[in-house]
Protein backbone atom coordinates (compact mmCIF):
# COMPACT_ATOMS: atom_id res chain seq x y z
CA UNK A 1 0.00 0.00 0.00
CA UNK A 2 1.37 3.37 -0.95
CA UNK A 3 1.18 6.34 1.36
CA UNK A 4 2.05 9.87 0.36
CA UNK A 5 4.17 12.15 2.51
CA UNK A 6 4.92 15.77 1.67
CA UNK A 7 8.17 17.02 3.13
CA UNK A 8 9.30 20.60 3.46
CA UNK A 9 12.85 21.37 4.58
CA UNK A 10 13.95 24.99 4.72
CA UNK A 11 16.36 27.27 6.49
CA UNK A 12 16.41 30.99 7.14
CA UNK A 13 18.69 31.63 4.16
CA UNK A 14 15.89 30.83 1.68
CA UNK A 15 17.15 27.35 0.87
CA UNK A 16 14.05 25.21 0.53
CA UNK A 17 13.33 21.64 -0.50
CA UNK A 18 9.82 20.34 -1.22
CA UNK A 19 9.56 16.63 -1.78
CA UNK A 20 6.63 14.26 -2.12
CA UNK A 21 7.37 10.65 -1.27
CA UNK A 22 4.79 8.03 -2.15
CA UNK A 23 6.65 4.77 -1.86
CA UNK A 24 8.28 2.96 1.03
CA UNK A 25 11.68 3.32 -0.55
CA UNK A 26 12.65 6.33 -2.62
CA UNK A 27 16.09 6.80 -4.06
CA UNK A 28 17.14 10.35 -4.83
CA UNK A 29 19.87 10.53 -7.43
CA UNK A 30 21.08 13.13 -9.89
CA UNK A 31 23.94 15.21 -11.16
CA UNK A 32 26.57 16.48 -8.78
CA UNK A 33 25.87 19.85 -7.17
CA UNK A 34 22.09 19.59 -7.42
CA UNK A 35 21.44 19.65 -3.67
CA UNK A 36 21.34 16.04 -2.52
CA UNK A 37 24.05 16.45 0.10
CA UNK A 38 22.72 19.85 1.14
CA UNK A 39 19.30 18.31 1.82
CA UNK A 40 20.87 15.52 3.84
CA UNK A 41 23.01 17.96 5.80
CA UNK A 42 20.03 20.18 6.61
CA UNK A 43 17.99 17.23 7.87
CA UNK A 44 21.01 16.08 9.83
CA UNK A 45 21.56 19.53 11.36
CA UNK A 46 17.89 19.71 12.33
CA UNK A 47 18.19 16.49 14.30
CA UNK A 48 19.57 18.17 17.37
CA UNK A 49 17.78 19.30 20.48
CA UNK A 50 18.70 22.97 20.04
CA UNK A 51 17.54 25.62 17.57
CA UNK A 52 19.55 25.48 14.35
CA UNK A 53 17.45 27.66 12.04
CA UNK A 54 16.04 24.78 10.02
CA UNK A 55 12.34 24.03 9.71
CA UNK A 56 11.05 20.61 8.68
CA UNK A 57 7.35 20.08 8.03
CA UNK A 58 6.01 16.57 7.51
CA UNK A 59 3.27 14.39 8.99
CA UNK A 60 5.86 11.89 10.17
CA UNK A 61 9.37 12.24 11.63
CA UNK A 62 12.15 12.93 9.16
CA UNK A 63 15.60 11.85 10.25
CA UNK A 64 19.05 11.57 8.74
CA UNK A 65 20.93 8.38 9.41
CA UNK A 66 24.69 8.29 9.29
CA UNK A 67 27.07 5.59 8.29
CA UNK A 68 28.04 5.04 11.88
CA UNK A 69 25.67 5.37 14.78
CA UNK A 70 22.48 4.70 12.83
CA UNK A 71 21.26 2.11 15.34
CA UNK A 72 21.44 4.64 18.15
CA UNK A 73 19.83 7.30 15.96
CA UNK A 74 16.92 5.00 15.10
CA UNK A 75 16.37 4.13 18.74
CA UNK A 76 15.65 7.79 19.48
CA UNK A 77 13.07 8.42 16.77
CA UNK A 78 9.48 8.59 17.95
CA UNK A 79 6.55 7.54 15.79
CA UNK A 80 4.98 4.43 14.34
CA UNK A 81 6.80 1.14 14.47
CA UNK A 82 8.21 -0.80 11.56
CA UNK A 83 9.66 -4.16 12.41
CA UNK A 84 12.27 -6.13 10.54
CA UNK A 85 13.35 -3.40 8.21
CA UNK A 86 14.49 -5.19 5.06
CA UNK A 87 17.49 -2.96 4.49
CA UNK A 88 18.98 -3.06 7.94
CA UNK A 89 20.66 -6.20 9.14
CA UNK A 90 21.57 -7.44 12.56
CA UNK A 91 20.08 -6.34 15.82
CA UNK A 92 18.96 -2.99 14.43
CA UNK A 93 16.73 -4.80 11.95
CA UNK A 94 15.04 -6.71 14.73
CA UNK A 95 14.39 -3.79 17.01
CA UNK A 96 10.99 -2.20 17.38
CA UNK A 97 11.87 0.88 15.41
CA UNK A 98 10.14 4.07 16.33
CA UNK A 99 10.32 4.86 12.66
CA UNK A 100 7.77 6.27 10.32
CA UNK A 101 9.79 7.90 7.61
CA UNK A 102 13.41 7.65 6.85
CA UNK A 103 15.47 9.90 4.66
CA UNK A 104 18.79 8.40 3.79
CA UNK A 105 20.86 10.35 1.33
CA UNK A 106 24.29 8.97 0.79
CA UNK A 107 26.57 8.57 -2.17
CA UNK A 108 26.82 4.87 -2.50
CA UNK A 109 26.16 2.24 -5.11
CA UNK A 110 24.11 -0.91 -4.92
CA UNK A 111 26.50 -3.40 -6.49
CA UNK A 112 24.49 -6.38 -5.28
CA UNK A 113 21.03 -5.05 -5.97
Amino acid sequence: METQHDILVQNKRDIQFKITINRKFTLIRGDSATGKSTLFQMVSDAGTSVQVGIHIACDVPVVALHETGYKYELSNVKGRTHRNSPFLNGSAGRQRFSLSLLIVLQHFAFPNS
Binding site: D31, H107, A109
Partner: protein
Protein backbone atom coordinates in the same frame (compact mmCIF):
# COMPACT_ATOMS: atom_id res chain seq x y z
CA UNK B 1 44.63 6.40 -18.10
CA UNK B 2 42.03 5.77 -15.44
CA UNK B 3 42.13 2.39 -13.75
CA UNK B 4 38.59 1.35 -12.81
CA UNK B 5 37.67 -0.96 -9.95
CA UNK B 6 34.06 -2.16 -10.01
CA UNK B 7 34.50 -3.66 -6.54
CA UNK B 8 36.72 -2.84 -3.58
CA UNK B 9 37.29 -4.09 -0.08
CA UNK B 10 35.69 -1.83 2.50
CA UNK B 11 39.08 -0.80 3.84
CA UNK B 12 40.04 0.59 0.42
CA UNK B 13 36.88 2.65 -0.08
CA UNK B 14 37.14 6.33 0.78
CA UNK B 15 34.29 8.57 1.83
CA UNK B 16 34.80 11.25 -0.79
CA UNK B 17 33.55 14.21 1.22
CA UNK B 18 35.11 13.30 4.55
CA UNK B 19 38.40 12.32 2.94
CA UNK B 20 38.58 15.55 0.97
CA UNK B 21 37.73 17.70 3.98
CA UNK B 22 40.52 16.14 5.98
CA UNK B 23 43.12 15.85 3.24
CA UNK B 24 43.15 18.80 0.86
CA UNK B 25 46.01 21.22 0.92
CA UNK B 26 46.63 24.49 -0.90
CA UNK B 27 48.47 22.54 -3.58
CA UNK B 28 45.22 20.76 -4.49
CA UNK B 29 43.55 24.05 -5.36
CA UNK B 30 45.11 24.49 -8.77
CA UNK B 31 43.62 25.45 -12.13
CA UNK B 32 41.98 22.01 -12.40
CA UNK B 33 40.23 22.49 -9.06
CA UNK B 34 39.03 25.94 -10.08
CA UNK B 35 37.68 24.50 -13.32
CA UNK B 36 35.94 21.60 -11.56
CA UNK B 37 34.26 23.96 -9.11
CA UNK B 38 33.22 26.24 -11.95
CA UNK B 39 31.89 23.54 -14.28
CA UNK B 40 30.32 21.13 -11.78
CA UNK B 41 29.14 23.48 -9.03
CA UNK B 42 28.74 26.64 -11.16
CA UNK B 43 30.77 28.33 -8.42
CA UNK B 44 34.03 30.23 -8.13
CA UNK B 45 36.98 29.40 -5.94
CA UNK B 46 37.73 32.77 -4.36
CA UNK B 47 40.52 31.77 -2.00
CA UNK B 48 41.87 28.66 -0.32
CA UNK B 49 38.93 28.36 1.97
CA UNK B 50 36.18 30.28 0.25
CA UNK B 51 33.87 29.46 -2.65
CA UNK B 52 31.23 31.77 -4.07
CA UNK B 53 28.10 29.79 -4.97
CA UNK B 54 25.23 31.35 -6.95
CA UNK B 55 22.74 29.33 -4.87
CA UNK B 56 24.29 29.08 -1.42
CA UNK B 57 26.24 32.35 -1.40
CA UNK B 58 29.73 32.31 0.12
CA UNK B 59 30.54 28.80 1.34
CA UNK B 60 33.59 26.98 2.56
CA UNK B 61 35.45 24.47 0.45
CA UNK B 62 34.00 21.75 2.67
CA UNK B 63 30.56 22.54 1.24
CA UNK B 64 31.25 22.01 -2.46
CA UNK B 65 29.62 18.99 -4.07
CA UNK B 66 30.95 15.51 -3.53
CA UNK B 67 31.31 15.15 -7.29
CA UNK B 68 33.63 18.15 -7.38
CA UNK B 69 35.56 16.82 -4.40
CA UNK B 70 36.00 13.47 -6.14
CA UNK B 71 37.30 15.05 -9.36
CA UNK B 72 39.76 17.23 -7.45
CA UNK B 73 40.96 14.23 -5.46
CA UNK B 74 41.48 12.22 -8.67
CA UNK B 75 43.87 14.87 -9.94
CA UNK B 76 45.64 15.74 -6.72
CA UNK B 77 46.00 12.57 -4.67
CA UNK B 78 47.68 9.44 -6.04
CA UNK B 79 47.69 7.69 -2.67
CA UNK B 80 44.05 6.57 -2.74
CA UNK B 81 41.49 5.07 -5.13
CA UNK B 82 39.10 7.97 -5.64
CA UNK B 83 35.44 7.17 -5.16
CA UNK B 84 33.71 8.04 -8.45
CA UNK B 85 30.39 6.80 -7.10
CA UNK B 86 30.16 10.28 -5.62
CA UNK B 87 30.06 11.69 -9.14
CA UNK B 88 26.90 12.34 -11.06
CA UNK B 89 26.74 11.91 -14.80
CA UNK B 90 27.66 15.58 -15.18
CA UNK B 91 31.16 14.67 -13.99
CA UNK B 92 31.76 12.30 -16.92
CA UNK B 93 33.27 14.88 -19.26
CA UNK B 94 35.94 16.02 -16.81
CA UNK B 95 36.65 12.45 -15.73
CA UNK B 96 37.13 11.44 -19.38
CA UNK B 97 39.38 14.44 -20.01
CA UNK B 98 41.53 13.68 -16.98
CA UNK B 99 41.89 10.05 -18.11
CA UNK B 100 43.65 11.28 -21.23
CA UNK B 101 46.08 13.40 -19.23
CA UNK B 102 47.26 11.32 -16.30
CA UNK B 103 47.13 7.95 -14.56
CA UNK B 104 44.79 7.57 -11.61
CA UNK B 105 42.50 5.01 -10.01
CA UNK B 106 38.78 5.12 -9.28
CA UNK B 107 36.08 2.98 -7.70
CA UNK B 108 33.06 3.08 -9.99
CA UNK B 109 30.17 0.69 -9.35
CA UNK B 110 27.42 2.35 -11.34
CA UNK B 111 27.04 2.78 -15.12
CA UNK B 112 28.10 6.39 -15.48
CA UNK B 113 26.75 7.89 -18.70
CA UNK B 114 29.74 8.85 -20.82
CA UNK B 115 27.63 9.66 -23.86
CA UNK B 116 29.86 10.30 -26.86
CA UNK B 117 32.97 11.06 -24.78
CA UNK B 118 36.30 9.41 -25.50
CA UNK B 119 38.55 8.30 -22.67
CA UNK B 120 41.40 5.99 -21.72
CA UNK B 121 40.18 3.38 -19.26
CA UNK B 122 41.60 0.15 -17.88
CA UNK B 123 39.18 -2.29 -16.25
CA UNK B 124 41.00 -3.96 -13.36
CA UNK B 125 38.59 -6.89 -13.20
CA UNK B 126 39.59 -8.41 -16.54
CA UNK B 127 42.27 -6.14 -17.98
CA UNK B 128 40.03 -4.74 -20.72
CA UNK B 129 40.75 -1.35 -22.28
CA UNK B 130 37.80 0.97 -22.98
CA UNK B 131 37.76 4.16 -24.99
CA UNK B 132 34.04 4.88 -25.30
CA UNK B 133 30.71 4.42 -23.54
CA UNK B 134 29.79 1.30 -25.49
CA UNK B 135 32.96 -0.51 -24.46
CA UNK B 136 32.57 0.62 -20.83
CA UNK B 137 28.91 -0.42 -20.65
CA UNK B 138 29.81 -3.85 -22.06
CA UNK B 139 32.40 -4.30 -19.30
CA UNK B 140 29.95 -3.08 -16.67
CA UNK B 141 27.31 -5.57 -17.80
CA UNK B 142 29.83 -8.42 -17.91
CA UNK B 143 30.67 -7.65 -14.28
CA UNK B 144 27.02 -7.47 -13.23
CA UNK B 145 26.19 -10.72 -15.01
CA UNK B 146 29.10 -12.43 -13.27
CA UNK B 147 27.56 -11.83 -9.88
CA UNK B 148 25.95 -14.64 -7.97
CA UNK B 149 22.81 -13.79 -6.10
Amino acid sequence: MVKVYFELNDKDIISTSKYFNNSYTEAWLDDWAKRVIREIDSSELVSEGLVQSPVLGPITLREISSGAKALITMNADDTVISNANSCGDNCAALLAELSRKKDFEIYLAYPMNFGSLEFDMYIVRDGAICHNAREFEKEYLLWRHSMTF
